[in-house]
């Protein structure tokens, strides 16, 4: 298993507590976590990403239990194993497409070592996501929202991190674009090495995933 969570719970500053369903994610699997707005989807993602401290329960990523790791080690685990696709907070506007994607391997030697020719790999990812290599040197703020989302996906996939986390990446896209985006993501995603965990409020995306977890009812 790449990722397992067990009896995870989180208490917010206002005293509200959420208990999350257990998640077990293996190589090649794509899991969708659904729930209404405010149900704790992003909190779960932040706990898995190591952005929030685990208060209750356990998270194990790449055989490392978070509770036994220092914050520095947690940073390294995140850099080596997690590719993050944000909902809206996507790209750095003053960097080019190439430079933004490169950030995916900049802070991890392990992920960088998985890429022999950086430019070639970035072009491959962009092409499989439906973007031309002509955009490589374009500042990202000149791209459309859909194109920016693809660049963000390329960055998250570069260096083949074991786990790709996606926080409602289709929320800014219309239905057709969201469909295309998920098709491209499925094509680009390396089923032999990677796992995908995506959160969304849109249950209609379910056909694209191997497993759907309803965070509200803890149903699988």
């Amino acid at each position: 298993m790449i990722l397992t969570t067990k009896d995870l719970g989180y208490t917010y500053q206002n005293g509200e507590t959420i208990n999350f369903p257990n998640v077990a994610l293996d190589v090649g699997k794509k899991v969708l976590i659904v729930g209404y707005s405010g149900s704790g989807k992003t909190t779960l993602l932040n706990l898995i990403a190591g952005a929030l401290k685990v208060q209750q329960g356990e998270i194990t990523l790449a055989e490392k239990n978070y509770s036994s790791l220092s914050s520095g080690q947690l940073d390294k685990i995140r850099a080596d194993n997690i590719g993050y696709i944000f909902q809206t907070l996507n790209l750095i506007p003053f960097l080019s497409v190439m430079e933004n994607i490169e950030l995916g391997v900049r802070f991890s030697k392990n992920r960088r070592s998985n890429v022999s020719d950086l430019t070639q790999e970035i072009v491959r990812l962009l092409t499989s996501l439906g973007l031309s290599k002509k955009v490589l040197d374009t500042p990202v703020n000149r791209l459309s929202i859909g194109q920016q989302q693809r660049v963000a996906v390329a960055r998250a996939l570069l260096g083949q991190p074991a786990l790709v986390l996606a926080d409602e990446p289709t929320s800014a896209l219309d239905k057709e674009s969201a469909k295309n985006f998920l098709n491209e993501l499925s094509t680009t995603f390396d089923t032999s090495k990677q796992a995908l965990l995506m959160v969304s409020h849109d249950l209609s995306l379910a056909p694209y995933f191997d497993q759907v977890i309803d965070i509200t009812n803890k149903n699988v």
Binding site: N46, A49, G50, S71, R78, F86, L89, I92, L95, F107
Partner: protein, 415 residues
């Protein structure tokens, strides 16, 4: 990291440039003060050389040096020629050159003296005075001008000039009944000599024949100058006299003896001592300016830290993306400190280039306006130390925003 830093700075070009310009301006001020101080100090020490003592009426030694060497202020009293002749008889004296001050020409001081002035008075550790054109005066109507006078008034050998009574340039105070002819132009010295007009003491006495208590009584044209005897043209009083001794060892004894001269209240001032006294007074003003520059630098550093702190909030998105992609808090803090180093270094380099170019391009103007000649020097050891302190202060103050970044949890920025 440096590439990211440059790109990030470029994305905030206007606010960062303003901070760099503010910091640079304060460093230009500090550097200018340092260089002007250095040039002034060198100029001070080079103003006169080869003179062991200056004899003048008993007053403040500083005052005497100011009006005899720097041509500043007005002499309050004169000494009689008889006193000068008495002192000249002393066996320990190698030379004695009397000078009379009080008149001016187009704002430049007139120094009435003898030919020996050009032989014995030196500048800048023993450099002799040379003529770029012409020669010293031979006749009572001859005049020698300093390099700046020649350049500013476009005078040359042969030019006829009138001098004004006192420092005023009004027509009514002009000695317009007698003209001097320029016979020599001195080479540039970088000292107050460049801004002086030299005339013969006898000529000086002649133009004052028709004057009493600052008022013209009769016109020299009414006189037949050829009938005037040498005695009539010998000045009765002079302002001061430059003295060279045969042996430096007798200097303090000479000064003490002059003070004891029974017939007139006079004193002998040792220029070196008076100059260092004067410099220590000027230094206080200089220290005030230096303090002011440091205050400006501190304010600029505060502005820099404020910019970085406020930009952290604006850069929330940038920082979050770095963190989410695996950048450690230490990496981001280092990025913040490096930004301060970048701003500080750019301001320092800018200030050095600016001041050095101004020094190089405006040396002549600075010399004409302020009478100083700053040395063309990229950066001195002292200045390097000052810049190191500023850079260190910049780095230390950037630790505040760096710690803020370090303490910021990823979830604070993600949410």
């Amino acid at each position: 990291m440096f590439k990211l830093l440059i790109k990030s700075v470029c994305s905030r070009l206007l606010p960062v440039s303003l901070v760099i310009i503010t910091l640079m301006a304060s460093m230009v001020l500090l550097l200018s003060i340092e260089r002007i101080q250095k040039a002034t100090e060198i100029g001070f020490n080079q103003s006169i050389s080869g003179v062991d003592a200056i004899i003048g009426p008993r007053s403040s030694s500083l005052e005497l040096v100011l009006y005899t060497v720097f041509h500043l202020g007005r002499p309050t009293n004169n000494i009689t020629m008889k006193t000068i002749d008495d002192i000249k008889q002393r066996k320990d004296i190698e030379y004695l050159v009397p000078i009379a001050l009080g008149d001016s020409h187009q704002g430049f001081r007139v120094i009435a003296t003898e030919q020996d002035y050009f032989k014995y008075i030196k500048y800048s550790s023993g450099k002799s005075l040379y003529f770029s054109d012409g020669q010293a005066f031979n006749e009572i109507s001859d005049a020698v001008i300093g390099a700046d006078v020649a350049k500013k008034l476009n005078y040359q050998v042969g030019t006829k000039i009138h001098i004004s009574h006192g420092s005023s340039q009004t027509v009514s105070k002009k000695h317009d009944d007698f003209s001097f002819e320029v016979t020599g132009v001195l080479e540039k010295t970088g000292t107050p000599i460049d801004q002086a007009v030299f005339v013969d003491l006898k000529g000086y006495e002649l133009i004052h024949l028709g004057w009493q208590s600052g008022t013209k009584i009769f016109n020299l044209k009414q006189l037949d100058l050829s009938t005037l005897s040498q005695e009539e043209l010998t000045p009765k009083t002079v302002t001061a006299a430059f003295v060279g001794l045969k042996s430096k060892l007798t200097l303090f004894r000479f000064a003490a003896n002059v003070k004891k001269y029974p017939n007139e209240a006079i004193s002998a001032v040792i220029p070196g001592i008076a100059l260092s006294e004067l410099w220590s007074m000027v230094g206080i003003v200089d220290q005030g300016f230096e303090l002011l520059s440091w205050i400006i630098i501190v304010i600029s550093l505060i502005a820099m830290v404020s910019l970085i702190i406020s930009s952290i909030d604006n850069r929330k998105r940038e920082m979050t993306i770095y963190r989410a992609n695996g950048a450690t808090p230490m990496y981001l803090s280092t990025l913040v400190v490096l930004e301060a180093v970048f701003i500080g270094l750019t301001a320092i380099i800018g200030a050095i280039v600016f001041v050095t170019l101004v020094t190089y391009l405006a040396t002549e103007q600075l010399n004409l306006i302020l009478g100083i000649t700053p040395e063309f020097d990229w950066v001195s050891w002292n200045e390097a130390k000052v810049f190191a302190i500023i850079l260190l202060a910049g780095i230390l103050s950037s630790l505040v925003p760096a710690i803020i970044v370090f303490k910021k949890n990823l979830h604070h920025t993600l949410s």
